[in-house]
Symmetry: C2
Subunit: 212 residues, 2 copies
C-alpha cells in the first residue's frame, strides 16, 4: 500500500526503454550500464536510474543492469506479462488495419472481434476475424472477457459507443476518434489523435530554425 504516484512523464518513457532493451536482447547484449543506455537513447543516465528506481532497484552497483531481467521487469510493470482481450469498433480502414497488424498480438493484445454498423461489412473476414454488427457488442464483451475497446469511428459515434461499452463494464478505451471522451470515473482512456500528431509535425516545419 502507500504507493507513490508515478508521473506520466515516467510512464511515457517506459515503453521506449522496453523497446531498446528488446533490441539489445536480440543483438545478444547481456548487461548494460545506465551510461551506455543513455548514450544509445539520448537521455541522461540520471534520468534512466531515477525512472527505474520508481519501481525498484533492478541494477547492481559496479555491474549495471542485466538486460533480460530488466526487460522482463519492465514488461511486468507495463502489464504485458499477460494477455489482454480487445475488440475494435469501427471496421473502416484504420480499424481493419489494426486487425490486420500482427504487432499487437505479439505483445499479448488479442483482437477478439471487430464491429461496425454498416450492414455491407457484416461477416466480412478481416485477418480471420469476421465483422459483427453493433447490436451484438454488449453480449460479446461479456462473453469473451474483453478488457480493451479500440474506437476507430467518427467522433459522434465514438462518444455514443464509449458510453455504451462503459455500461457493459469496459474500463479501458483506446481512442482513435477526433474527440475527447467524457467517461465515468475509473475508466482509462489512451488517445491516439493522428491529425494532431501531423499538426505538430507541421508546426515544426513552419518553425524550423527557431531553435534558439
Amino acid at each position: 500500500m502507500e504507493e507513490k504516484k508515478i508521473s506520466s512523464a515516467v510512464i511515457r518513457r517506459l515503453p521506449r526503454y522496453y523497446r531498446y532493451l528488446g533490441e539489445l536482447i536480440e543483438s545478444g547484449v547481456q548487461r548494460i550500464s545506465s551510461k551506455e543506455l543513455s548514450d544509445r537513447m539520448k537521455v541522461t543516465a540520471s534520468q534512466i536510474r531515477q525512472d527505474l528506481n520508481n519501481f525498484g532497484g533492478f541494477g547492481q552497483q559496479g555491474y549495471g543492469y542485466n538486460v533480460k531481467y530488466l526487460y522482463d521487469e519492465i514488461g511486468k510493470i507495463l502489464g504485458i506479462d499477460r494477455k489482454h482481450n480487445m475488440v475494435i469498433i469501427g471496421a473502416g480502414n484504420l480499424g481493419q488495419a489494426l486487425v490486420n497488424s500482427g504487432d499487437f498480438a505479439k505483445r499479448g493484445f488479442i483482437i477478439k472481434g471487430i464491429f461496425d454498423n454498416n450492414k455491407e461489412l457484416e461477416g466480412k473476414s478481416v485477418n480471420g476475424v469476421s465483422v459483427m454488427m453493433m447490436d451484438n457488442l454488449k453480449k460479446f464483451i461479456k462473453n469473451n472477457d474483453i478488457e480493451i475497446v479500440a474506437l476507430t469511428l467518427p467522433k459522434e459515434a465514438a462518444r455514443e459507443v464509449a458510453k455504451d461499452v462503459c455500461e457493459a463494464g469496459i474500463t479501458a478505451i483506446w481512442n482513435f476518434a477526433h474527440t475527447d471522451l467524457s467517461l465515468p470515473e475509473g475508466v482509462i482512456v489512451e488517445n491516439v489523435h493522428l491529425s494532431e500528431s501531423l499538426m505538430r509535425l507541421s508546426y515544426n516545419i513552419a518553425n524550423k530554425g527557431n531553435k534558439n
Copy 2:
C-alpha cells in the same frame, strides 16, 4: 528575430485548442473567455492564457477571445494555413488506411503518392492513388514538391528509407515504424508508436486505483 523557444509541452497542446475552437465555430459560438474554455477542456485558464501569449495577444480585456479569429491564428501557428504534399511509404494495411482517410486532406495534407517494394501491389489503386515502386521514389519526391514522408514500414526498412529520402531533400518525416530514426541535423521527425501507446494503456489498467 530573437524568437523565444516555445516548449514542446505548449506545442503538444495547440492542436487540441484548435480542435475545441473548431467545434465551437461549428456550434455557432463567437466569443469565449479563457475561463469558459478552461471548463470545457479541463485545463486551467491560466495555462490557456500563458500558452496563447507565447504567440501574441489574441484576446481583448473584458471580452475574451473571438473564436474564429483565434482558430485562424492557431491554424497559422501550426502551419496549416497552406497545403503540404506528402507521400506514404509502405502500402501495407496502415499505409493504405492513411491514404484512404480523408481527414488529412481536409487539413491540407495532400497525399500525392504511395510506395512499396512489393511487386504484387504495383499499380493497385488506393483511393485513387496508385501504388508505385520504390525505385521511382526519389524522382517523384523531386518532381512533385513533396515535403512530408510518412513511413509505414517495418523498422529495418524504415531506417533505410529514411536515410534515402533525406538524401532526396526531405526534411519532415512522420514515422510509424517501431524504431527511432537517426537523421541528419535539421530533419524533423514526428513519431507515432502505436504499440507504445497500447502499453501505456496497459500500464494504467495494471495500476488502476493507485491514484494516490
